[in-house]
């Protein structure tokens, strides 16, 4: 049996698990429209796995939800409803990034640092540098320490990844913070190839505890829109050093 050639059953199972990449998934859906065996394989997998969904802990919908659905049925399907745009449509670029789960996976799979290392690193910086106003330990999506950000009183910051990230040649890591949700994320700067960097002062209010910091993977030169467009590699919240 070869591993690289997937059978119809393999594809149908991965389709129903949600594991096919978006283009593969769309192609398999089209195949099912003209190939009854593929449609049947999908249906069989859905029936096999349905009990997992049916056993989800029930949550009562908000009492107004049905009225919202009922109203939405009156909106013409072909026309975007002015009052209810589709929730948070990402940019074309963001969709492109979302089409690369393997890239994202490769970037995150290297996250092997331990919390002990993060704590040790934060303590070491504290001794070696000026006293930062806040320190943020940024975590990978699976909760492992990914980077440390020290933010100083003059608005400058020092960023050090704690884990190896395989950044493709035409990509760069960009550091963001959310000082004011009304303004949205503001860039603190780009990380050089080896990761750690001292970033110039940003014109922002003094950093506060619980302020969000994150690092995203962006096209070379940084996000073209001035806001994060790529996948989040690490994110976390600032705390004052004790």
């Amino acid at each position: 049996m070869t591993e690289d050639r997937r059978t119809l059953q393999d594809l149908a199972g991965e389709f129903v698990l949600g594991l096919l990449e978006p283009d593969e998934s769309a192609a398999f859906e089209r195949r099912a429209e003209r190939e009854p065996a593929a449609a049947a394989a999908i249906a069989e997998w859905r029936d096999r796995l349905l009990v997992l969904d049916a056993a989800a802990v029930p949550l009562a919908p908000h009492e107004t939800l049905w009225a919202r659905i009922d109203d939405a049925l009156d909106e013409p399907a072909s026309q975007a409803a002015p009052g209810a745009p589709p929730a948070r449509r990402p940019s074309r670029l963001a969709r492109f990034w979302n089409d690369l789960p393997v890239l994202r996976g490769a970037a995150l799979a290297g996250a092997a640092a331990t919390l002990a290392l993060a704590v040790f690193s934060a303590a070491t910086y504290r001794d070696a540098q000026r006293q930062p106003q806040v320190i943020a330990v940024l975590l990978t999506p699976d909760g492992k320490p990914g980077a440390v950000v020290d933010v100083f009183a003059d608005g400058s910051s020092y960023v050090a990844p704690l884990t190896d990230v395989s950044v493709p040649a035409d990509r760069i890591m960009q550091v963001w913070t959310l000082a004011d949700p009304a303004v949205g994320p503001v860039s603190l700067g780009l990380l050089t190839e080896d990761g750690s960097a001292r970033l110039r002062p940003a014109a922002l209010p003094a950093p506060k505890p619980r302020q969000l910091y994150e690092i995203t993977l962006e096209p070379d030169g940084g996000s073209p829109t001035g806001k994060p467009t790529g996948p989040i590699l690490f994110k976390g919240f600032a705390e004052r050093p004790r």
């Binding site: 949600g18 919908p61 393997v102 799979a109 996250a111 999506p141």
Partner: protein, 185 residues
């Protein structure tokens, strides 16, 4: 594969989908009343935030209404079809959301969320064939399957979560699916 008239007779949701296709809103409401809270629980497990899950449910019910005529009862139950519409909408939302900054409670929820796969497995009835067959899998492989299906993680995210190479995770899941299919047939 043969048609499943018996299943259709026992499947009121299939009848209600027929009602939706004929423009009967009370049929859609009947589906909502019967399955809404379970669907919201399922969608919340994937998108994590309840208010986002409610948006997912709203958009999915509009899709159910508009696409009900395409439901084919020879291809599985009405219930599976409805759940698939909501699940797909939730997975798309999760992908769209991955670059949006998160709230505090989401970060704090990482550890608890990881336990959701064990919870999903434990909540299956012991008499379910799927539970019996999942329990025959190696625990790590079972977890990989559940992380994908219940939480909507990608291969790469599962590899990161389990600390295993990407190719290994892909092979685990593929073999687990083959084993589940044999076990449940």
């Amino acid at each position: 594969m043969t048609a499943v008239p018996l299943q259709t007779r026992l499947d009121p949701i299939a009848d209600w989908l027929g009602g939706c296709a004929r423009g009967d809103r009370s049929a859609l409401k009947a589906i909502y009343d019967r399955e809404g809270s379970t669907l919201l629980g399922m969608a919340t497990r994937i998108v994590r935030r309840r208010e986002v899950a409610e948006e997912v449910l709203q958009e999915a019910f509009v899709q159910i209404w508009r696409r009900a005529a395409s439901f084919d009862p020879s291809l599985g139950s009405g219930r599976a079809w409805v759940f698939a519409v909501v699940r797909n909408r939730a997975l798309n939302q999760l992908r769209d959301d991955r670059h949006v900054p998160v709230e505090d409670h989401e970060l704090e929820g990482y550890a608890a969320h990881d336990e959701a796969t064990e919870d999903a497995f434990d909540r299956l009835a012991d008499s379910d064939a799927l539970k019996r067959c999942l329990s025959r899998l190696d625990p790590v492989r079972r977890k990989a399957v559940l992380l994908a299906y219940c939480l909507g993680l990608t291969h790469g995210e599962i590899a990161g979560r389990l600390g295993a190479p990407l190719g290994t995770v892909k092979a685990w899941i593929r073999r687990s699916l083959a084993s589940l299919r044999t076990c449940m047939s």
